[in-house]
């Protein structure tokens, strides 16, 4: 399988065992004009939805060579903070600071508002309707401290859940919905009982929750915090012995060894096939990890700016990451020089595969 023109062997030529190569990464054509808030691959095709602070959601088609072409676009009245695909890949939903979620139907090209909150909507996800034949459901989490379920046809939510704090991040996998809020609350919902918290906990990390991401097998989730740390947390108590956290996205500048700069973990994405995962941070690097072996598979050099969000495509051979300003250094660091791009990284066969444990004596 030749991806992005070059074979896997050529992709691995310039890399050592632990340091990956990003020279083969391809930039997305015609990226958004402002910061990129979210990336989502279509669950059914080679399309990528990109939400941006320029109030637009763009949909690109990506071919085998990694070349991309803008296919569609829809607009919000305020910056878009999140976007998602319907499970059948026919609809894209954006959620934004205009306190609304808007859906683009790709077949008809029409945009409709499908959800409303009292505050900006930070996160949105779509799940298949549990009742057979129904339209997919939309889940939105907002800074108004609620999570709401929508069936896309009514203007009122079919269900709503009050959270302790503003919703910062959500992720869903199969029946597992994990909600990370301000003040380090983490709520776990079993979607069989969507209005009830299956479990509520404080984040295992001591600092603001930045991102949560469910395991590929939905048995747990990873938490990233602003303090360069990532926690692996299993849902069930019986697995709690496997919980752990690790430090990442920290840097000691070579000029000044006394200081350790700790960057925020901005994005965690799980590989859909291998179950390994990526972390990406404000330091502008991303890494692939194996949570079961508890070691890093690959690290990559800095990409030239903070990475705000990441995504694997459906079969796990493209890793997309967005380089744009993530506001971690305040407004003064947001200059015209700030890079704003989406990069597509072709994944070699050995980059995300868990290594067999060869270190046995």
């Amino acid at each position: 399988m030749s991806l992005f023109g070059g074979g896997a062997s050529s992709a691995s030529a310039g890399q050592t065992n632990t340091t990956g190569d990003i020279s083969k990464d391809v930039a997305l054509n015609a990226p958004p004009e402002d910061g990129i808030s979210d990336l989502r691959f279509s669950p059914t095709s080679e399309h990528l939805a990109v939400a941006s602070w320029d109030k637009k959601v763009r949909i690109y088609e990506i071919n085998d060579q990694g070349q991309s072409e803008g296919k569609a676009l829809f607009e919000h009245e305020a910056p878009v903070l999140n976007c998602c695909w319907s499970p059948d890949g026919t609809k894209v939903v954006g959620a934004g600071a205009d306190k609304a979620a808007r859906m683009l139907d790709l077949s008809s090209g029409t945009t409709t508002q499908v959800a409303a909150h009292d505050a900006p909507i930070r996160s949105c996800h779509m799940i298949p309707n549990p009742s057979v034949g129904g339209t997919p459901l939309l889940i939105t989490g907002s800074w108004d401290k609620t999570v709401k379920y929508w069936d896309l046809r009514q203007s009122t939510a079919i269900a709503s859940v009050e959270c302790q704090e503003r919703v910062y991040t959500m992720d869903v996998k199969n029946k597992l919905l994990v909600i990370g809020t301000a003040d380090r609350y983490i709520n776990i919902i079993n979607l069989d009982q969507p209005t009830k918290f299956y479990k509520t906990m404080q984040s295992p990390l001591k600092w603001q929750t930045r991102v949560v991401s469910c395991f590929s097998d939905a048995s747990g989730f990873a938490v990233g915090s602003v303090e360069g740390r990532c926690a692996i947390q299993y849902v069930e108590e019986k697995d709690s012995a496997s919980n752990f956290s690790f430090k990442c996205h920290r840097e000691t500048p070579p000029a000044n060894r006394d200081v350790c700069n700790i960057y925020s973990v901005n994005a965690i994405s799980f590989h859909p096939i291998h179950g390994t995962f990526s972390t990406a941070g404000a330091d502008g690097t991303f890494h692939f990890w194996d949570k079961d072996a508890k070691h890093r598979l690959k690290g990559y050099p800095a990409v030239g700016g903070p990475i705000t969000t990441t995504a694997f495509n459906r079969n796990g051979n493209i890793f997309a990451y967005s380089v744009s300003y993530d506001w971690s250094k305040g407004y003064s660091a947001n200059t015209q020089q700030t890079v704003n791009k989406v990069m597509l990284h072709p994944i070699g066969p050995d980059e995300t595969k868990p290594r067999p444990n060869t270190r046995k004596r």
Binding site: G35, S37, W53, E77, A78, P79, L81, A97, D98, K99, A119, P120, R122, W143, R166, Y168, A182, D183, W207, Q208, R210, V226, E227, T252, R257, D258, V259, C260, N261, I262, Y263, S264, A282, D283, D326, W327, S328, K329, G330, Y331, S332, N334, T335, Q336
Partner: protein
């Protein structure tokens, strides 16, 4: 007519494999290697035996996250990790040569000793016209003389409390070198003997003195003696010190074991093995007197201290005939100070504090725990949501004056950038 083998030849001794770390020698290279694995290259944490110090170092760092600093059970100067030793391989040339020399000299020493003991001629040198004879039995008078000498030596050793007995050089100290004792007694012996007399009461030999000067202390507390001296008041402080300056020079060094000294015959032979007349017939010793090396000296030599030539070679010290006490004291001092240094360096090595890993100061790049970066961004006027309904302004949604202020600041930034 097969010749009886007495022991290994020098070549056989030199060929024996030996351990670089502890100087032990072994019958077989295999045994040496297993010794090194068990004694020097064993991991204390998991009992795994590695082949080399380097292997152990890698094992420690990878498996136990520790650092190998020294090889265990090694001589103090052989603890280094940097020398890669496997069996006999990797031993530095200078160490190898030193070891060979040491083995050779020990072999020669043993050979000489055996010759002395048996009276046999050195191997291969028996063609000399006058073969050495077996030692004869001594006449009784000689035996008595030697007994007296021995007693004198013992007495001196006891009184002086010198550590001569335990040091390997004790033989030297007590070997009567001609003239040495004739001069030394006034210096060396008197201070030693002066003690027991005032406190122990008048010894038999010095009676004439003490009754006169009187030991005020004793007489005052034991009036039974009734030896009150009218001239000296019992409590006057002057009475106390006075007897000794007067008495001391008069103390003859002959009080205890001195008779042998005074009547001392000329020493039977300047050789160490005084009782053996046959010894005088022996060939000249090798120019460098092979020192009898005990374990401690061996260690010292490894550490680079060359012990000062042991005065044990009486044939040499004979002529110069310096004060024997000097001779003895130097090596002993060396050894003591050497041992002290040894201990000091060891404690230094062990007490050296572990290198503290200083934690770098931690700086959170995004140091805000109540607002996410997106919230901050969304509050900027650039991203502010102004709905169509004119009654509802975005600013009314924004909390706090601080943020309004910030918005104005960023307004100016926007002006410059746009």
């Amino acid at each position: 007519m097969g010749k009886k083998r007495r022991g290994p030849s020098l070549e056989e001794l030199l060929d024996r494999p030996w351990c670089y770390y502890c100087e032990r020698d072994f019958d077989d290279l295999k045994i040496l290697i297993s010794h090194q694995k068990a004694k020097h290259f064993k991991c204390d944490n998991c009992n795994r035996r590695l082949n080399t110090a380097g292997g152990l170092s890698v094992h420690l760092s990878q498996v136990h996250k520790e650092q190998l600093t020294q090889v265990q059970n090694a001589l103090p100067n052989r603890m280094g990790v940097d020398v890669e030793i496997f069996g006999m391989e990797g031993i530095p040339d200078d160490v190898l040569n030193a070891h060979r020399q040491r083995v050779a000299s020990q072999f020669q020493q043993a050979e000489l000793d055996r010759q002395h003991a048996t009276g046999n001629p050195p191997t291969g040198a028996s063609s000399g016209g006058q073969p050495a004879k077996k030692p004869k039995l001594e006449p009784v008078s000689d035996l008595k003389k030697r007994l007296a000498e021995h007693k004198a030596r013992r007495a001196e050793a006891l009184a002086g409390g010198s550590s001569g007995d335990v040091t390997p050089n004790s033989a030297v100290q007590s070997t009567p070198t001609p003239g040495g004792y004739a001069q030394s007694p006034p210096v060396a012996a008197t201070p030693q003997y002066s003690y027991p007399q005032p406190y122990g009461g008048p010894p038999a030999g010095v009676t004439p003195h003490l009754p006169q000067t009187g030991s005020p202390v004793y007489s005052s507390y034991s009036p039974v003696g009734g030896q009150q001296v009218p001239g000296a008041s019992p409590y006057t402080p002057t009475g106390y010190p006075s007897p000794y300056p007067a008495g001391l020079p008069a103390q003859p060094p002959v009080s205890y074991g001195a008779p042998p000294f005074s009547q001392q015959q000329p020493p039977p032979s300047d050789n160490r093995f005084t009782g053996l007349p046959a010894a005088s017939n022996l060939p000249q010793r090798p120019a460098f007197a092979v020192p009898s090396v005990n374990a401690h000296e061996m260690q010292q030599m490894h550490m680079g201290h060359v012990p000062s030539p042991t005065p044990a070679a009486p044939g040499h010290s004979n002529g110069s005939s310096a004060q024997p006490t000097e001779h003895v004291s130097t090596p002993v001092d060396n050894q003591i100070s050497g041992a002290a240094n040894d201990v000091a360096s060891k404690t230094e090595a062990t007490s050296k504090p572990k290198k503290e890993k200083t934690k770098p100061a931690i700086r959170l790049v995004y140091n805000e725990d109540t607002l996410s970066p997106e919230e901050k961004m969304a509050q900027l006027p650039r991203y502010a949501y102004v709905p169509d309904r004119s009654t509802q302004t975005a600013l009314s949604e924004l909390p706090g004056n601080v943020i309004v202020g910030r918005i104005q600041e960023s307004d100016t930034v926007l002006d410059t950038t746009h």
